[in-house]
Each structure stands twice: as structure tokens, then as C-alpha cells.
């Protein structure tokens, strides 16, 4: 894994159609093309650190928190640690590019949180 990555804990991974719909993007067109790329970066090409821990590292590290802190220097709140998926998103590019202050990372994450809340209701 590269040094630079962002962590996105989520309770569920939304289907692509639901993700685009929440962003008010139609299934075809330039917007869908761009944000399908965002979806792939977040949910398809990311590493699920919880799954990795459960599958490979739970014998070596006593807790998920210890695994994240010792191997990734990731420190999460207890509420975030309880989430189903802890996604490590690498190579943020395109409209998520960190070099630009107006990238859409925060907007997309807020949308994902809204989807999670709506799904729980």
C-alpha cells in the first residue's frame, strides 16, 4: 500500500445506481462517467482493512484498533471502528484530487453518510 491514503469507514456499500441517484446524476452521460470513477475509487479499488484484519491479521494483532494503529497509523473513534467496512482509498485522483481545494471528497462522503442514515431509517 502507498503511504498516502484516506480512510472511509462505512456501514454498507451502496450500489452504484443508488450512489449516482443520491448525487442527482443520471445513469448515463459525462457526470455518470466521472462519478462511476469516483465510486470505483471508493468502493471497488479500495482495500477493506476490516476484511484484511479478519482474514489475515486477527491472530497477530489482538484488536482491529491495534492492527490499524500499528500497521497503518490509523486512529478511529469507537463508533467508526464498529462499521462494517473500513475502506482505505488510495490514489485519489480526478475530481477527488487532494491538490485542489474544491475537490468533491467532502461532498461525496456527506452523500454516503446520508445514504447510510436513510438506509437505517
Amino acid at each position: 500500500m502507498n503511504d498516502r491514503f484516506l480512510v472511509l469507514p462505512v456501514r454498507r456499500i451502496p450500489p452504484l445506481g443508488e450512489f449516482l441517484h443520491a448525487l442527482k446524476i443520471k445513469p448515463t452521460g459525462l457526470a455518470a462517467q466521472l462519478f462511476t470513477g469516483v465510486y470505483n475509487q471508493l468502493f471497488v479499488w479500495s482495500d477493506d482493512l476490516r476484511a484484511q484484519y479478519d482474514q489475515y491479521y486477527c491472530v497477530e494483532y489482538p484488536t482491529l484498533a491495534a492492527y490499524l494503529e500499528l500497521t497503518r497509523e490509523v486512529y478511529l473513534d469507537p463508533a467508526e471502528l464498529e462499521k462494517t467496512h473500513i475502506l482505505a482509498v488510495e490514489s485519489l485522483g480526478g475530481v477527488l484530487e487532494e491538490a485542489y481545494d474544491d475537490n468533491v471528497w467532502d461532498t461525496v462522503v456527506a452523500c454516503i453518510r446520508n445514504l447510510e442514515d436513510g438506509h437505517e431509517d
Binding site: 448525487l23 442527482k24 446524476i25 443520471k26 445513469p27 448515463t28 452521460g29 459525462l30 457526470a31 455518470a32 462517467q33 466521472l34 462519478f35 470513477g37 480526478g94 475530481v95 484530487e97 485542489y100 474544491d102 475537490n103 468533491v104 461532498t107 461525496v108 456527506a110 452523500c111
Partner: protein, 132 residues
């Protein structure tokens, strides 16, 4: 995802063509791009529309069919798009070749690095040159 197999530089510029009777409007762009005006990511598309409009304004207008065959940018377009440019001129549309840079801002960088085509009843944009 773009994968460039030879020399890679930190910045680039790419060509696109805009064919239409009139200048692109915001509502047309949003509709053709498939994004709602109340979308949480609408500001990004507002900025992309502004960049696109600026680059169309700054672009080179081809007024004769022969110009399509002689323009220095012709290698950036497929034979189908070159034919479409010629047909556009014959039909009385304005055919404009513009450029995007990857250096300036998020909206223009996105337009520069994404391979895309947008078609609607009123306009056609082809940016297949955007490979890295």
C-alpha cells in the same frame, strides 16, 4: 483510468471540438452531462461549464470544409469526428477547436484528462484526444 506508456510530464493540454449553431448554455450542458441543477456536485459542473465556455470562446473556428483537412489539430480527432466537423460546416454550424490544460484548476483538469463525448440535439462535443 489513463495509463501512459512513454514519457510522462506533469502537465498536459488536449484538444476538443465543439459543434453547434449557438454558444453552449448552462442548462443544456447540465442536461446533456446528466446532472441535476440541485445536485450536491453541481458546483463542479458549474465550473466545468464556465471553463468549457471560456475555451470555446478562445478556440479556433473552422469556417471552410478544407480547413478540417489542414488544421494542425486534425491528428487529434478520429475520422468520424473529422467527417462530423465537415458536415457541421456544410450545415452552417460553428465548428470550434479548443484546448484544455491540466494545470489551471480542478474543472479544467477534469475536462483535460477525461475522454468524453457529449451529444445533444443542439450541440456536440468530442474530447477523445484526452489520453495520457
Amino acid at each position: 483510468m489513463k495509463i501512459k506508456m512513454d514519457f510522462v510530464s506533469n502537465s498536459s493540454s488536449t484538444s476538443f471540438v465543439y459543434i453547434a449553431r449557438d454558444m453552449l448554455s448552462r442548462d443544456e450542458f447540465f442536461s446533456a452531462a446528466g446532472v441535476g441543477p440541485d445536485s450536491p456536485v453541481a458546483p463542479l459542473f458549474e465550473a466545468m461549464f464556465a471553463e468549457l465556455k471560456t475555451q470555446i470562446d478562445r478556440g479556433t473556428v473552422l469556417t471552410r470544409v478544407e480547413d478540417v483537412d489542414t488544421t494542425e489539430n486534425r491528428q487529434h480527432f478520429t475520422p468520424e469526428v473529422l467527417d462530423r466537423m465537415k458536415q457541421g460546416i456544410v450545415n452552417g454550424d460553428t465548428v470550434t477547436i479548443g484546448r484544455f490544460s491540466s494545470e489551471n484548476n480542478l474543472a479544467e483538469m477534469t475536462l483535460c484528462t477525461e475522454i468524453f463525448e457529449i451529444e445533444s440535439e443542439r450541440f456536440f462535443i468530442n474530447a477523445y484526444d484526452n489520453y495520457w
